[in-house]
Symmetry: C2
Subunit: 187 residues, 2 copies
Amino acid sequence: MQYPNNIRKTYSKINVSHSNRGMSLENALNLSNKYYLDKDIALIYKKPTPIGIVDVSYKNNKKVIEKAYFKEQSTLDYNGLYRGKYIDFDAKETLNKTAFPLSNIHEHQSIHIRNVIRHKGIVFLIIRMNAITYLLTGKDYINYIDNTKRKSISYKYIEEKAYIIKESYQPPLDYLKVVDEIYFKGE
Amino acid sequence: MQYPNNIRKTYSKINVSHSNRGMSLENALNLSNKYYLDKDIALIYKKPTPIGIVDVSYKNNKKVIEKAYFKEQSTLDYNGLYRGKYIDFDAKETLNKTAFPLSNIHEHQSIHIRNVIRHKGIVFLIIRMNAITYLLTGKDYINYIDNTKRKSISYKYIEEKAYIIKESYQPPLDYLKVVDEIYFKGE
């Protein structure tokens, strides 16, 4: 069966869009970082999850971890170098439609965000909620938590302050385009 | 028994020096990074070692790693933010007295060093050999490997090109003092 050209095109667009929407935020970011690396645009890596090792054995002179548990990252998950600047961020998804629970960001991570701002690095959160991916700057995050007793960030604040990261085929999440707008405007 | 002042001083100096010499390079760097963090001088962290997970179980709703193996880091072990600049390095010790074996640095790490230089970050190696701790800039490292077929860096080259990092009590290895000299001269 043959479809006319325009139908095929639409179909393929929907397909692409669907495939991104089904992609986990972490996967989309890893693919985007690989794209940035391959195109020599930026060097951004996800840090490995820290573990606490309980037991190891040796097989053919190779260390094998026999028991370990996951530990909390004391910094944010992603960092690297873009346009000569230090860049640092974390990515979080929530199914909550009206607010982003602050329990997603640990106290030592909030301290780290303050530290990076003070030391003149670029720092932000990537938040996916209501099927939209947002970039919230570290400054706007800190401003919010310093002026609230709430245990979550209202979706209204995110809609007002955060920047939408558009989904595309390659890279799946072009968050550096938003970084350009915010941090390199006029350069 | 009372020693004259000058003898006591000498004794205490030797003591400090001894205690640092017994400290592993990794431990000395972790303590130095903690010192820099506590004094708000720099934000530099060692990346967790990446692992490949083979098997997990769940105990009281908590994920436990039942089998895993160590993977190679595709970047360098340490990175962070200092004086508004991206900083990235690795630390290696060798018992070899005449040369630093290049097998210590994997091919993808050499590529990463080239990438950081091109993207205008600060990148270097900290090398401990013959009981001295050196800082070799990424540029001098790349210059060497690009112009040799040897499988090691001669100690002569390290003595000629690398900067000595002095050991002290706190921080145990004040490598940022050397970074200041090389990368922030005249600022």
